[in-house]
Amino acid sequence: MITEKDFGRLIQRTLLAGVFLSSLLMLAGFGFLAAGLPPGRALLKAGVLVLLVTPAARVAMLVYGYLRGGEHYFALASFMVLALLLISALV
């Protein structure tokens, strides 16, 4: 089982981790760009990508949390949202 509080904290940490990692990458990207070094744009792109993956990671945590909590309806709904995100990344 997973308590509602732990679940909330898991979601919160996933979102914050994504936001901070992406910010770090973008900051590094700007540093490189300002110094005129080549990896600048690649780092910015990685930062944007990490940010865009963050909501998907959050949905993946919802799948996990609802499965652990035995709420199969919501686990299924979360899984379907995750599948839709995957589809949108491929079309």
Binding site: Q12, L16, V48, P55, R58, I87
Partner: protein, 278 residues
Amino acid sequence: MTEFTLPLFLGLLGFGGFIGLLGSALGVGGGIFMVPFLVLVLKLPMHQAVAASLVAIVATSSAVAAVNVERGLANIRLGITLELTTAIGSIVGALAASRLPAGALQLLFALMLFPVSVLMFLKGRRPAAAPAVPAGPGTAFDGAFFDPAAAGHTPYRVRNMTPASFVSFFAGSLSGLLGIGGGIVQVPVMNLLCGVPMKAAAATSNFIIGVSAAASAYVYFRRGLVPLEITAVMVAGVLAGSFLGIYALYKARSEKLQLVFSVLTLLVGIKMLMKVLG
């Protein structure tokens, strides 16, 4: 490409900060202001403006949702269920947008701003009274949160999930098509149709728009339409504004703000329309 200068950098950062504040106060992504700003002020092509706006919406949603989920304000069960139809709508909208010319998108955007302005005005004038908890069996979507403005625990029932899911599809397609999160539709739908109190509706909408904006943003990203430098600076501003807003505006009343934004939206709509027609 736009020349990247210090004033542009600072301007984008400041504008991003304003959007972040707006996002945390009203539960909207701020796309209704970001897209016109990028098109009218920075002269960015419409598709790139939409793409940049979507990425910034993901940023504000992720930052604000992190805190709202922990506070118990965002109704995750309601959110994930509405995300289903919203995500489908977002993909359809983004695919449609990539086939439409920039002029058509700008016209759609300008036209959309007028009803949005009216909606904001009405919401600002008549702050919704706290709905009474109706009798009868509850559903899995029902929620409760602690409201510091009312200094009490506010339980609520959620109703009309089926029509709400349909409207969410529409909100999602707006997101993909025009680069707005769709919060401008989701908040009133949850508040008026589902009976979710305003604060919880704003928080849940914020939770949802992260997924709808991401679903559309993937489509734009794969097509190489995200302007990296501009987006990254705006995201930095948005994140700073969001975190500031979460703590500064937790106890604030948003009605006055709605009236100000209603007028602002109207002006932006007129300016956009003039650009398309002029």
